[in-house]
């Protein structure tokens, strides 16, 4: 459980300190007040990555060179400082050389309106969805992902070089295959645990007759090495590696129709929610079996009271929740443990 959060030069906040309660913490405030940034602070503190941007560079407050987040999670003191070429991670005051132990602690699921991109957006959104979960479940995921990305970028740089460098490209095949196979297997396993849970969650929250299915579409077959060899000519023509886990995708279907084209807006939002609920369920079943911390950004505003309750009922009840909303139209319905109002970069407890 997270009990406190401190932000320093973090996006719009020069300094902000928040006490966080065990159950539902509600943050109220107008647009642009920094509600999402508080949730982002939690995500960066616990996962060392942002739920809303791929890079941490934009998180640094304009005109500053670094940012810092600190917080207390269970009996541990966490601290992360970021500057362009240096990241510093402290666990109980001790600087960490590797992030393994630090990242084992807090696990997070983020629910936000942009999740609809999981259905409508490009495949990178869905790979990020799998990675966000994989990085929290398996210690081997991070090294495999980083090494694969590095080998892929190096290989593509060689394919793009003005003079052909076939022998160097070939030298990068082995690491690409080795780490790529780990990644392919891990993502297939993740999807296997996610798919039934996502289907069930969709059924519960939408109370609909249609069926939602989730399937892993790997970017290479079990014979990744053979695929690489067979695609060689084409990849030289296109000057990039065209098979591999960087082409992985998830296939989302509603009653056998591709959800991106055939599902209604409401159905698409339902799918996105179901996928995130499944993420929370998988986390709850893995590792230390603790319910993950939930960051729920501005979702409740769009749902009617019935759907709001259905959503809350479907999230792990033991989860600590940080919820943002622009207004509180449902004062009588939801009992928040702590309600904060955010105005002019200041938090006021109501």
């Amino acid at each position: 459980m997270l009990t406190s959060l401190r932000l320093h030069n973090f996006r719009c906040f020069e300094g902000l300190s928040v006490d966080i309660g065990p159950g539902l913490n509600l943050f109220l405030g107008g647009n642009g007040e920094g509600k999402t940034t508080i949730l982002e602070g939690v995500c960066v503190l616990l996962r060392l990555q942002s739920q809303r941007s791929a890079s941490l560079a934009p998180v640094v407050q304009t005109g500053k060179k670094s940012f810092g987040v600190r917080g207390r999670f269970e009996e541990h003191e966490l601290e992360f400082r970021y500057r362009a070429l240096r990241r510093q991670v402290r666990f109980d005051g001790v600087e960490q050389r590797t992030v393994g132990e630090y990242l084992r602690l807090g696990r997070v699921v983020s629910l936000a309106n942009v999740d609809i991109e999981l259905v409508r957006g490009g495949s990178d959104t869905r790979r990020r969805y799998l990675d966000f979960l994989g990085l929290q479940i398996d210690n081997a995921y991070r090294p495999a992902l980083r090494a694969y990305e590095r080998a892929l970028r190096a290989r593509n740089a060689l394919l793009k070089s003005p003079t052909a460098r076939p022998r160097e490209v070939a030298a990068y095949d082995a690491p690409l295959i080795q780490h790529g196979q780990v990644l392919l297997r891990q993502r297939a396993e993740l999807t296997e645990s996610l798919a039934p849970l996502a289907g069930q969650a969709y059924e519960r929250i939408s109370a609909a007759r249609e069926k939602f299915t989730l399937r892993f579409v790997p970017g290479a077959s079990a014979d990744f090495e053979g695929d690489l060899e067979r695609s060689h000519r084409e990849s030289i023509r296109l000057r990039q590696t065209i098979v591999g886990p960087h082409r992985d995708d998830l296939e989302l279907r509603i009653d056998d129709f591709p959800a991106a084209q055939f599902a209604s807006e409401g159905q698409q939002r339902g799918i996105a929610l179901a996928m995130k609920i499944a993420q929370a369920d998988v986390l709850k079943k893995s590792g230390d079996k603790k319910a993950p911390l939930l960051l729920i950004d501005d979702i409740f505003g769009e749902l009617d009271p019935e759907r709001r309750n259905a959503l809350l009922d479907n999230l792990p009840p033991a989860s600590q929740k940080l919820v943002t909303a622009t207004a509180m139209p449902w004062r009588d319905e939801i009992i928040a443990d702590i309600i904060y109002e955010l105005c002019d970069r200041r938090l006021r407890r109501l």
Partner: protein, 219 residues
């Protein structure tokens, strides 16, 4: 004078001092700037070193200056292996008692000393001066790879041991060299990787354990 009046006039004096910042003379500032170019030296250390140099009562700073220029003039890379040498060949390459048919390939000349400390290897070395890293624009032509191939063609090695880093670039560089050499009747090996000495199984990650398993040794 009241207490509040006193503190506000104090504040005024303090404020003025903040505006009129006195700095070190330019010569000292230049020295600090020069020192900061050294690896691991930040602004605070640079200032401390500079002040020590200026205030030192003996000629230690001059001795250091002489040592720097003398060493720079004396030390050059060994023509054969790339290690630090004062003559054409380094101490290791001149040592006749070492096995002449074993060659160990490393990335940097600084990788040689840790291997020497183990006393497990008494053969020849070859430092590449880096590894093939397209993202840093380093290709085979930027490394001492041609020198390595010439040396292997010239000398009579029975085994070549690759001791490069166990990361993506180290791996790729090893693959590249193995590909260039595998037609020759020379045994090509790579140093083992796996569990750290004194480490338990539970603390090892999946990849390390996998490599430890596939690279197991016969008892």
């Amino acid at each position: 004078m009241s207490r509040t009046g006193g503190s506000s006039s104090l504040r005024r004096v303090f404020h003025l001092e903040v505006l009129k910042r006195t700095e070190y003379p330019e010569a000292i500032r230049d020295l600090i700037t020069q020192l900061r170019q050294m690896p691991g030296v930040g602004p605070r250390s640079a200032e401390r070193i500079a002040l020590w140099m200026i205030q030192s009562r003996d000629d230690k700073p001059e001795q250091i200056a002489t040592a720097i220029s003398k060493t720079r003039a004396q030390i050059r890379p060994c023509k054969l292996c790339g290690f630090f040498a004062t003559e054409e060949l380094c101490e290791i390459c001149r040592d006749d008692s070492r096995a002449s048919d074993l060659l160990c390939v490393v990335e940097q000349p600084t990788d040689i000393l840790p291997l020497e400390k183990t006393s497990a290897f008494r053969g020849q070395y070859h430092a590449l001066g880096g590894r093939i890293a397209p993202l840093d624009h380093i290709g085979p032509e930027d490394l001492r790879i041609q020198e390595l191939l010439d040396r292997i063609a010239r000398e009579n090695f029975s085994e070549i041991i690759f001791a490069l880093a166990a990361d993506v670039e180290g791996e790729a560089t090893t693959n590249y060299l193995v590909e260039s050499l595998k037609a020759k009747p020379i045994k090509l090996t790579r140093i083992a990787r796996g569990l750290p000495a004194g480490g338990g199984l539970e603390s090892a990650d999946e990849l390390t354990l996998y490599q430890a398993l596939t690279g197991r040794t016969k008892l």
